[in-house]
Amino acid sequence: MKSAGFAEFQITWSKDVFTGAPQESSADAFGTVGINFFARKPV
């Protein structure tokens, strides 16, 4: 993010969003979680 020029990068939320899905996923093997992230283009 920083190398792309963005500032204020932050991950604001994370949660397991894959468990219980109808089909088996590779997500669990890699500890995959859903996240929200924020960043700003500097003024």
Binding site: F18, T32, G34, F38, A39, P42
Partner: protein, 208 residues
Amino acid sequence: MSDREVSPVAVAPVDRDVLREAIKDEYREVAENPQRGFHFHTGRRLTQIVGYRDEWLEGVPESSIESFAGTGCPFAMGVLKTGEHVVDVGCGGGIDSLIAGKMVGPKGRVVGIDMTVEMLGRARGAAKEANATNVEFQQAYAEELPVADEWADVVISNGVFNLFPDKAKALGEFYRVLKPGGRMQIGDIMVATAVPESAKRHIDLWTG
């Protein structure tokens, strides 16, 4: 940044076009058969899992909601303001574009972008049903956004950043289209375990 180990892939170590076609195949199926059952949750149940408020979904056609396949909630980081310009990268069936359209109101504008024709068809149908005249949809790749420099106040995206073949180029495009002071509000995924190089070359793992 959390203490989780992130394993970014700036440029996918797979054939870009083959990867894109595999992803289109997957999301064409979501667009055409959203009830089929996938390796990820979909639809209204998923909106509840990732934290969408009921009032945000009011007026959004079910045809858009049922094809939702995001991994987070861009609006959880702050609602959008009246009159803002928004780019929704990887808009899918249009749920986030339509929510954004309601938030920014008639003086705002939303451009939803996706590479999958069938998803765009669903999004355009939903926008027409919702009479969302401030929302338009275009077919394009994240690495080549059809948006003018410094047009957007906000770039949103949900569950697709991890699928971009060239993430550095896509980020460059996000930066280009944002106004100074503009923001990204993105839902995506993160892995806790480093992904081996061999796995990164396995296209089935990108889509499933």
